[in-house]
């Protein structure tokens, strides 16, 4: 059903890279597999070798260091991240985004890194990680590369990763004191669904900077220019944010929604997001 391929399960990055290089474009990394296997079944991708990476210790890291920087390994299932109390406390928007993905069962397999590398314009992890200023670490025999997420997405389902690069982990910089983060996703129903529109944001009262990112409204997820809130009223900030989104978005009509609906609803999400982030005495 999935085609015919071999499967290897290396225990080191070097070994994984070697296998991938040998097979070239007919090999693929298998982490959660929830996008890949669906593509294989549909014949959208054909592979000769799957390189399972869940046994590589380096890719299983999920920790916060003393400075507050968060590392999410490429093989860490979403549920593991969601259930980590420390992350729920400091990065609620990240958890909201992860919780919105698919079903409980799929979240035991799917990974944040996988979601990003699949690079759907509607990738649910992208907006919040963009707003958080996260970077993706990519490993190849030529060395390690730190890719700011804002450079990762180059087109619909296209990243800037080279064929011999393996994404190994996400690094989310230490949050500013009291940083608030939120994610909102418009779906067709309350049950599991892809995003019709999505928006994420962070706001640090200490710096007064509002960062917004939007998804499912352009060929790639978009990070908008940061907004200095200063003394502006909430309504003024909302208006500024909405204008920025309306300028940046290039929505299409597809099976999920029309461009008209996306144009109508994304500003609503952004306004609600900003209101929540700027709320007086709001929690992180």
């Amino acid at each position: 059903m999935l085609g015919r391929f071999d499967y290897e399960r290396p225990t080191s990055l070097a070994e994984a890279a070697r296998l991938l290089t040998e097979c070239g474009s007919s090999a693929a990394v298998l982490a959660g597999g929830t996008d890949l296997l669906v593509d294989l079944r549909a014949g959208r991708r054909i592979v000769r070798l799957l390189v399972g990476v869940k046994r590589i210790d380096a890719l299983r890291r999920l920790d916060v260091d003393s400075a507050g920087e968060l590392t999410i390994g490429a093989a860490v299932p979403l549920n593991e991240m969601i259930e980590r109390a420390a992350i729920r406390r400091t990065h609620p928007g990240l958890v909201q985004a992860a919780e919105s993905i698919a079903t409980y069962q799929l979240r035991n397999r799917a990974t944040a890194v996988g979601n990003l590398c699949n690079a759907s314009p509607a990738a649910d992890m992208a907006p919040i990680l963009l707003a958080l200023g996260a970077c993706l670490i990519a490993w190849s025999p030529r060395g390690e590369r730190t890719i700011p997420l804002s450079s990762l997405f180059v087109g619909v389902k296209k990243t800037c990763l080279a064929p011999d690069e393996i994404a190994t982990e996400l690094r989310v910089p230490a949050p500013e004191p009291g940083l608030r983060s939120r994610f909102l996703k418009q779906q067709r129903l309350r049950g599991h669904d892809l995003a019709v529109s999505s928006a994420a944001g962070t706001y640090a009262p200490s710096t007064g900077v509002l960062r917004l990112a939007v998804g499912s409204c352009a060929p790639t997820p978009l990070l908008l220019e940061p907004i200095e809130v200063g003394r502006s009223s909430r309504a003024a900030v909302e208006e500024k944010a909405v204008r920025a989104v309306q300028v940046a978005m290039r929505p299409i009509s597809d099976t999920r929604a029309s461009a008209d609906y996306r144009r109508a609803v994304l500003p609503v999400l952004v306004k609600r997001l900003v209101a929540d982030l700027l709320a007086e005495g709001g929690a992180p």
């Binding site: 059903m1 418009q186 067709r188 129903l189 309350r190 049950g191 599991h192 669904d193 892809l194 019709v196 099976t255 999920r256 929604a257 029309s258 008209d260 609906y261 109508a264 609803v265 609503v268």
Partner: protein
């Protein structure tokens, strides 16, 4: 109905649940026969094309392939009411997704590999997708040879030279004149897109061609005898040459009511030298190849007096049958005779057209056209009420059928029909109708209330019948044999309860044979139309009486008394005046043996049957006649909350009343209501096929075809049952299986009109549709 019932009317849990919760229940794809092959289907990428050539040579050369077939190999025509279909497309394809060729091989992977190597050359032809376009002069003909097709004469009227597979007319009184003269008139048009049943188990069939032109079939089906009959007709075999087994079935909802993959499995097995062949639809094939629920365009005009009495109703229903007529013609027929709603209307004119288009074909679906028709009818009722300045519930009260009225087919409405007004009152009370909704918690949200009536009778042939056999075991337990299928609705448990009640057996000693087998279990028409509990129940009562007659006869002879003096109680038979001289059923079940060794009687086997009574064909010009064995009425009332910025609807409370006549099992009746309401919510809020301008189905999977999940439930659902008895129903019961789904969209559409002042006419009421409607209204001066 005043005798005290012991087990009928109680919430006996189903015993099949045990097989299902342990994984022991075997569905068709859980079966494996020795040497069984696996099949795949090659489908058409085009909505309308001529098949120029099919090259199977490469496919046949793949090792492990045992049969490859294309339409040109098979000269067989299928059809339930109109024989317009092939097993595999021959000469032309009529919808994207239509089966063109098939492979049977040792494994599914081999079959798929071979399928990939089949070469088909197509020449695209003009296609038509909207049934209204298909009715216009000069439209491409989906079936140019319509004139030559066999069909059920006197009941269905295809129009050769057009795309009209059937036209049903209702003519009562003089609707055009009455409308013209009405105090107040209203006209509106509505649309239901095609949707899919989405049973959790997709279609699957196994067939084994046996020597001497016989075939044995195991299939996920609602109707083993219909499968047998239709195969008999299309293959030219006697009925006894075809044996159909139905194991556990994972949901049907009408999609498995007729022929599915059985013919294909049969011809593949023949071509594979008699090896059994399993054909099982992938989920994508279930959406794109297997049949759907017809779409409907409706236009309704009603006329009323100023004080709210409807005087006339005119409706035009244009059904999108898709590429083949299947059940679609009967849906068009049934929807016509029900097509004015449960109201007393003196002048009525309905034209119901079933029209071919180049899309996946429609079949029976829970509600059989009534959800689609009542979407329009119940919305128009509300619109007229508003126009008259009347409360919508009150407007309905003034027009609902009451004793002494006649329906639009001239059928008198009697006390035995039940009480639609009571259903209306019950749901109105449950949601506090008449009181405006409480304020929404959020200023961006608006609340509204809506109400809608529902009605349906079984849409079935005038001669529909059912037979039941009950045999007693050595230990005095009873086995009930039926060929109706329990595909989740719980009828088998109800039939066990009835048998236990009538036979004076504890429920634990009444068993029902789970698998249907046309060689062994007696005839049942089809498990559709909400008629199985009614007809099967009556047949069980008769069969049980037959068993007890035999029990009494043998006991009487054994005891030397007259049979009329024997009573049966608690598995014992004894003379009423001498309870001490009891003989246990177990000592009679296989005959009675005297102490000296003489034996009398024999194995006790009772049979019962039921045939529809008093039904008539409908007059082809006027639709007058008696199509309904019984009617079931009901109502929904709903309170919703709408997010005016995103268009999302939340159902706060939905109350559903059904006049069940007698609730045979509260647990399963409640299950039918909750399940039906949620399935109705799917049609209302989320579901609909989307096609591009070349007729390609754009959402053939769960990624983009969404059904309700556990997160999509109303905050509160209130099922309410009325028990106004149905004469002729077992214990006064009527069918209730389809009804809870009907009119759910109408109630919610009415609530939206209340909340927003907007009349939505197209389903589904997705957030997008709702929001764009709000925006349009805001822009209109």
């Amino acid at each position: 109905m005043t005798r005290e019932l012991r087990v009928v009317g109680t919430s006996v849990p189903r015993d099949d649940a045990i097989d299902k919760v342990t994984g022991a229940a075997r569905y068709t794809t859980d079966l494996a026969l020795p040497g069984m092959l696996h099949a795949t289907i090659l489908t058409s990428p085009h909505a309308s094309a001529r098949i120029v050539g099919v090259d199977l040579t490469d496919a046949r050369s793949v090792p492990g392939v045992r049969a490859v077939l294309a339409g040109s190999d098979l000269d067989v025509r299928l059809g339930l009411y109109l024989r317009d279909k092939r097993i595999l497309a021959r000469d032309v394809v009529r919808y994207q997704g239509e089966p063109v060729a098939a492979v049977a091989a040792d494994t599914l992977d081999v079959a798929r590999e071979a399928c990939r190597r089949i070469r088909v050359e197509y020449e695209e032809l003009p296609a038509v997708f909207d049934p209204r376009d298909a009715m216009a002069a000069g439209a491409p003909l989906v079936h140019p040879d319509l004139a030559g097709y066999d069909h059920m004469r006197g009941v269905f009227f295809p129009r050769p030279g057009t795309n009209v597979a059937h036209h049903q007319k209702i003519r009562k009184g003089d609707a055009p004149a009455s409308l013209a003269a009405a105090d107040v008139r209203l006209e509106a048009s509505f649309y239901n897109p095609p949707v899919q049943h989405v049973p959790m188990e997709t279609h699957a069939s196994i067939a084994q061609a046996l020597p001497e032109d016989r075939v044995e079939i195991w299939t996920s089906s609602q109707s083993p005898y219909t499968v047998r009959h239709l195969l008999s007709v299309c293959l030219g075999l006697p009925h006894a040459a075809i044996r159909v087994h139905v194991p556990y079935v994972g949901g049907g909802f009408g999609g498995k009511a007729g022929l599915g993959l059985e013919p294909l499995a049969t011809v593949l097995s023949r071509a594979a030298g008699g090896r059994p062949v399993l054909v099982s639809a992938t989920r994508e094939e279930e959406f794109n190849t297997m049949p759907s629920r017809q779409g409907l365009h409706s236009t309704i005009k009603i006329g009323s007096t100023c004080d709210g009495r409807i005087t006339a109703l005119e409706a035009t229903y244009v059904w999108d049958a898709g590429a083949y007529a299947d059940y679609g013609v009967n849906v068009g027929r049934a929807a016509a005779y029900s097509g004015a709603g449960p109201y007393a209307i003196e002048h009525c004119s309905i034209d119901s057209y079933v029209v071919y288009t180049n899309k996946v074909y429609g079949t029976a679906y829970r509600g059989f056209g009534h959800l689609e028709v009542l979407w329009g009818i119940e919305r128009v009722m509300d619109q007229m009420a508003r126009k008259l300045g009347l409360d919508p519930a009150e407007f309905r009260r003034r027009n609902l059928l009451k004793e002494g009225d006649t329906t639009i087919t001239g059928e008198p409405f009697t006390a035995g029909h039940g009480k639609p007004v009571e259903c209306l009152d019950a749901v109105a009370k449950a949601i506090g109708w008449g009181r405006p909704p409480a304020a929404a918690s959020d200023p961006r949200k608006v609340r509204g209330k809506g109400i809608a009536m529902l009605h349906k009778a079984p849409a079935m042939p005038t001669y529909t019948s059912c037979a039941v056999v009950i045999k007693l075991d050595e230990d005095g337990a009873a086995d009930v044999l039926v060929s109706g299928v329990d595909y989740g609705q719980g009828t088998y448990t109800v039939l066990r309860q009835i048998a236990a009640e009538e036979l004076c057996l504890p429920i634990g000693k009444v068993h029902i044979t789970w698998e249907c087998d046309t060689a062994l279990t007696p005839y049942d028409w089809q498990t559709v139309a909400s008629r199985f509990s009614y007809m099967g129940g009556n047949a069980v009562i008769e069969a049980a009486a037959d068993c007890l007659r035999q029990v009494r006869a043998v006991a009487a002879q054994a005891l030397g008394v007259a049979p009329e003096t024997i009573v049966c109680e608690d598995e014992l038979a004894f003379p009423a005046a001498e309870p001490g001289r009891a003989i246990a059923y177990k000592d009679l079940a296989l005959g009675y043996t005297f102490p000296n060794g003489n034996a009398i009687g024999g194995p006790i086997i009772g049979h019962g049957r039921f045939i529809a009574t008093g039904l008539t064909h409908l007059n082809p010009e006027t639709g007058q006649g008696r199509p309904a064995q019984f009617w079931t009425y009901g109502a929904h009332a709903v309170e919703i909350e709408v997010d005016t910025e995103t268009g999302e609807i939340e159902i706060l409370h939905i109350a559903t009343a059904v006049d069940a006549g007698k609730v045979l099992n509260p647990l399963s009746c409640t299950g039918q209501v909750i399940g039906g309401v949620v399935q109705g919510l799917g049609s209302t809020l989320h579901e609909g096929f989307q096609f591009d301008d070349k007729g390609q189905l754009l959402n053939p999977s769960f990624v983009d075809y969404k059904i309700p999940t556990a997160k999509d439930l109303p905050r509160r659902m209130t099922p309410i049952f009325l028990e106004n008895p149905q004469p002729g129903g077992p214990y006064g019961a009527r069918g209730v299986a389809e009804h809870p789904m009907i009119s759910v969209p109408s109630a919610i559409g009415n609530a939206l009109a209340d909340a927003l002042g907007i009349d939505y006419t197209v389903l589904p009421l997705s957030p997008e549709r709702v929001l764009l409607g709000i925006q349009k209204k805001d822009k209109t001066p």
